[in-house]
Amino acid sequence: VSLHARPEENTLGGIVGTGRRRGRDRPAPKAVVRATEQGATLGTAYLGIGGGVLCAIEAVYSLAKFFSNLHRYTDARPTIVAWVLFALAFAIVCVTLGRRGEKFPRPLFAAYLVVLAAVVALDFIGIAPLHDVGAFATASVTAGFGLLPMVTLRPPRDLLIAAAVLAAAFTVMTATTTDLDSASLPELVITIAIAVVPLVLAVYVLHRFRRMVQLELDRVLVQSTVTAPRFAVGMLASEELTRLDLAAEELLDSIAGGRTPLPLEPKTASKAASLATELRLHLIEGRRETWLYHAVTESEQLGKSTTLNDPGSLAGLLDPAQRDGLLSAMWLLVADGRRTPSTTTVALGPVLAPTTQSVRRTITIPIVIQTTGIPRARVDTAVWLAVQQVGEVTASMEDGSLRVAIHCVVTNPAGQ
């Protein structure tokens, strides 16, 4: 019989240390998730307006072209109807976007596509007797531009399919009505390119824009760890503690109110056991992590490519400027690697023995950033500026990838 036994929940079903790693493989704090969602539409409204402006410019050009050729049409009515239809649809889309903002429902998008298809069809009917698609296509070309404001609102796939369908329509129309020769071909190629290329390019630009925004957002969210205390609970653990307290409160409340009968069913009892275990772990272990640990675990970008090896929790000793430099360098190294997958391993410590008596007030922490897949030529100059903020830098190459060793001098915590 032992006198001082540890409480026994651990043996009852709560498995120590695994309770916190649930859900998807890398849980993010709610605040981070919320900010990231916010970022998905950040700035796209402005770019959408830009798409509208480009469309309007092209429409003016095509209209001018149409009017200058008006006398050559045998029957201009289908094309005129096409233009009126396009103008109406585009105006409605602009007003809808102006009033309802970033919400453009799928049925409305489908209707808009149908109208644009009708515009293309009517324009083709109007120019078919002229036997030269390149020289006379106007409203049908503008229809491609009409999709530019949609680029920010609809998934890329929808728009690329639309672009492909438009290109196919032009090809079929050309094959059936136009004789290709050196006189008609140049203008035809130009016309089709104007109709299709801007849309495809816009989809690509927006993709890059969104990725840039997400990266920047991830960066500023993680930047907030730089000013954290030496040891911090972290947002994830903090949310978890709040959740556990609430779960315990609800369980106790339902027992007090008689909604949960006593003695407890085994299932509820084991829930109480795991609650107690998790709560105890959070109360005991809560304070042991440094800002750098939180930065790496909370960041989408760092989390997937960076390994942190800091057994002595020395990162907490770095001052804010050194932290900023280290974080920037780690960040730039992996965020810059867009094609080849790159990883970094950041190791801190062990602390170097002081060389002379006089420098007792500071200690030196060796920091090694070992990378894979990052050749020296690809390293941004900003990385060097950032690591110099941390301390004295020695860079070398290992297996064709960069290795940065930093002598980081910090205030001796024992001297404070």
Binding site: A31, F209, M235, A269, A276
Partner: protein, 387 residues
């Protein structure tokens, strides 16, 4: 933020390259078609087109203003050679030059929206390319060809300007999101620390949860329900922002988080009440009016509760005595039971449970714990903390 602007410029350069090379390819395709360009000019024109292409490739990766300038000059050269001013030019040839003048050259315009000097180059390029195509076109400047060239330039410049100004706007929003997030992190940290420092509260909650983990067997349902109600009420107080401390009356008194010293007495009563519900009768002796700093009091009470829990589980008796004494620099608690006892030297005093929950807690505040026991003769634990 700098990173975002660099990424913006990189994207604009890449767009310039893709658009320019596409347009250049279209132009070249049209120019080499039989009958469009006189054979003697073909070699020179193709060479110059290659120069424009090379400049577009360089623009994709380099920020140097030399590449757009050289590219534009070479492009204007192509137009001048293929359609010299004053000569009669066939319409297909003029049209074939349109993607070059309005696409490949305007692609350079994407990277020229910036400093005044770059804008000057841009303006010169727009004027030169439009003028040359307009002069060569069969119906002058109102022909479709020069108008298309102007369209190409306008689209390129509007795109570059709009995207270029969109990025600083969005980075400003990102920075403000970052600021808000820093405040949120700070608040979350404070909140976590507040919850973690409510150790006394969590200790009673953990004790209750432990009982419940055993399905509440061995304790009367009414007592457990009362305890659950008290604990739920404490947790609610904590959630609503207070720092509740268990009290003797079973009601909850919310302490302001800043109070540094708390009287021992009323918290001792709550410990007594809790163990009473679980079937251990605790008798208090000695003073109850000792003032202690919060963290010392917490550690002291937690260790004390841990001792009583051991009595409840292992001693085999249902009552325990706690005697509190104090002198000038020490507060001492003696926990005594007349239960089964044990041989101190046969049980490792450094056992995790004892060390973590009692010795560890007291150590943190400069206190200590000693155990006296022998089989059949009960157990006494002495806890000491500094005042």
């Amino acid at each position: 933020v700098e990173q975002a602007l660099r990424e913006r410029d990189r994207l604009l350069r890449e767009c310039a390259r893709v658009v320019g090379l596409t347009a250049l390819g279209v132009s070249l395709l049209c120019l080499v078609m039989p009958g469009v360009l006189p054979g003697r000019l073909l070699v020179v024109v193709v060479l110059l087109v290659a120069v424009v292409g090379g400049c577009l490739v360089r623009v994709g990766v380099s920020t140097s203003p030399a590449w757009p300038v050289v590219g534009i000059v070479a492009g204007i050269g192509v137009v001048l050679i293929a359609a010299p001013v004053g000569a009669a030019v066939d319409e297909p040839l003029v049209t074939a030059l349109v993607p070059l003048a309005g696409g490949a050259l305007s692609a350079f315009g994407i990277v020229l929206v910036g400093s005044p000097r770059r804008l000057a180059v841009l303006a010169a390029a727009v004027v030169a390319s439009t003028a040359l195509i307009g002069i060569a076109a069969p119906r002058g400047f109102l022909s479709v060809q020069p108008v298309t060239v102007v369209l190409g330039w306008i689209l390129a410049v509007v795109f570059a300007y709009w995207y270029g100004s969109g990025v600083p706007r969005v980075t400003a929003s990102i920075v403000s999101i970052g600021r808000a997030h820093r405040a949120e992190r700070h608040a979350s940290e404070t909140e976590a620390q507040r919850r973690q420092s409510a150790r006394l509260l969590h200790d009673t909650v953990l004790a209750t949860l432990t009982l419940l983990a055993h399905s509440g067997i061995g304790v009367s349902s009414d007592a457990l329900r009362d305890q659950a109600r008290d604990d739920a009420s404490l947790l609610r107080q904590l959630r609503l922002g207070g720092s509740p401390v268990p009290t003797s009356t079973g009601s909850v008194v919310t302490q302001p988080p800043t109070s540094s010293e708390i009287t021992l007495g009323h918290t001792l009563e709550s410990v007594k009440q809790r163990f009473g519900r679980m079937g251990l009768d605790v008798s208090w002796h000695g003073t109850g009016q000792v003032l202690l700093p919060t963290e010392v009091l917490d550690a002291f009470l937690l260790a004390l509760a841990e001792c009583l829990e051991n009595v409840r589980r292992h001693s085999g008796v249902s009552d325990a005595h706690v005697t509190i004494t104090d002198d000038d620099d020490t507060v001492r608690a003696m926990v005594t039971d007349s239960g089964v006892g044990f041989a101190v030297d046969q049980v490792d005093a450094g056992r995790l449970g004892f060390r973590d929950s009692i010795v560890g807690r007291l150590d943190e505040v400069g206190g200590s714990a000693r155990v006296f026991s022998s089989p059949g003769a009960g157990t006494t634990v002495v806890l000491e903390v500094p005042r």
